[in-house]
Symmetry: C2
Subunit: 277 residues, 2 copies
């Protein structure tokens, strides 16, 4: 029995997200099918976290166990042959005992890409870029967005930036797999506790390179709530447009109320860049 | 009645090429449908040339006439709203009288993009790049490919690099629209003349930038035969691999025989960059 750690890149466009779902084309399901085809074994690879439909990965990590004694280079090669070009195994290695792609993760980095409106003329987003960016129809004040981004550094309750599923927040916490970085959420009787949406953000920065039309937001943290990066970006864009001020970030965080923050940015601009262990 | 000149970019991946075909999703057909939705008029926009299924465009040019007196900025905006994100009108202007996107073209530039194999390890092509490059499984001698590329500069008979449709070359010439840069191919009785596949290449160069994994071939010419750029690239790659020598290019051209040249490179690496008038 070998425990494997695979680093994976995928184009999220053709998939209904990472997590396997009956009758849907997902990254996890496609990977499981490739593993079964190669080894004959039925295994469900565990990701470092789910990515939503349309979200991309430059360095998702998955772990899985196989009984078949296949040498790493052969398994790596066979998987890339079995997988569609929209999923690539960048590396494959035997993992240390008890390694788990989600539970062992200590840090994750995401990047969000925006094609901003630069002139008075409308932004025309290249068709080749369109699936990988938010072509933002607004002119953005990058200085204000950078100031806002600095406000989320450190440890905060990110409830204002967490996906809200009305009437479902309790059921979700009880019945589905735990959110990233979250452990022991429930008491013994399974009753619903107030969700501790506390996370630590280690890096949070907007960059604009002169030689390309992309505005990029990079964020590294101990873990992220569902939709947290997209909700942060949607809020930063509200600030960039001038509908909110950067100085309001602390009160938005303090409110612990999703309605105080901006809308959710589109999935297609988001990339899971790296997972650290 | 206004004659319009539109410069268009498209991602060729989801289309069965430029040319309208019954029951198929094509760029020309999608553009015609958008024009009809906006103006109520049935027009078939003429492209500077057809692109094959999977070939992309950074600057395809199309011309069409509309009776509706719509101001250019409004029509431009309406078309980009009506078109899918995989097709973008980059610019739109009233054209001079008798302008025709194909007949008026004097020069075209194509680019072909390859992700070369750099190390002994297999090339792993990013899923986000895969639809736009040929992830070439070989290590390539770029010096030899550059030498070969220089051999096609000037005016030559490119029969060795033209698509061969066995038993169909005559029928094709008679029944379908003329190849680019080709006029008056047929005598009055419609009998089949030997095809004059003479074209002039003005620029032909391979470049490799240190900061990206792409090897690019740029070629500018008076016109191109069907599959000519992909057949040139397929031959340059044979030379890069060492299966043919750069010094054989003149004899391959002189042979006027498709079998002497290399295979056709995949469509997905090809971009129509620019059309000059």
């Amino acid at each position: 029995m070998t425990l494997w750690k695979a680093t994976i890149s995928y184009d999220g466009t053709p998939f209904h997200g990472w997590q396997v779902q009956p009758g849907r084309h997902t990254v996890q399901g496609t990977l499981a099918a490739a593993l079964q085809r190669i080894s004959g074994e039925i295994v469900l690879p565990q990701g470092s976290g789910r990515t939503d439909a349309g979200v991309h990965a430059l360095g998702q990590v998955a772990s899985f166990e196989l009984t078949a004694p296949i040498p790493a280079p052969n398994l790596h090669h066979a998987l890339n042959r079995a997988l569609p070009p929209s999923i690539r195994l960048l590396s494959l290695e035997a993992a240390p005992p008890r390694f788990h792609a989600r539970h062992s993760a200590v840090r994750k980095t995401y990047e969000y890409r925006i094609v901003p409106r630069i002139s008075a003329a409308e932004t025309i987003c290249s068709p080749m870029l369109a699936p990988y960016v938010w072509a933002c129809p607004y002119r953005l004040d990058v200085g204000a967005m950078s100031e806002a981004a600095a406000h989320v550094l450190g440890t905060h309750d990110f409830t204002s930036f967490a996906a809200v599923d009305p009437d479902e927040s309790c059921r979700t916490a009880r019945e589905s797999e735990p959110q990233e970085g979250e452990q022991g959420r429930l008491n013994r009787k399974g009753s619903c506790l107030p969700t501790p949406n506390i996370r630590t953000v280690l890096a949070s920065e907007w960059t604009l390179h002169a030689d390309e039309p992309l505005l990029r937001y990079r964020v590294t943290g101990s873990g992220f709530l569902h939709h947290m990066v997209r909700n942060l970006v949607g809020t930063f864009v509200e600030i960039g447009v001038g509908r909110l001020r950067a100085s309001e970030m602390p009160s938005i965080l303090a409110a612990r109320d999703r309605r105080t923050a901006g809308p959710t940015a589109p999935a297609r601009g988001l990339f899971l860049v790296e997972v650290d262990y």
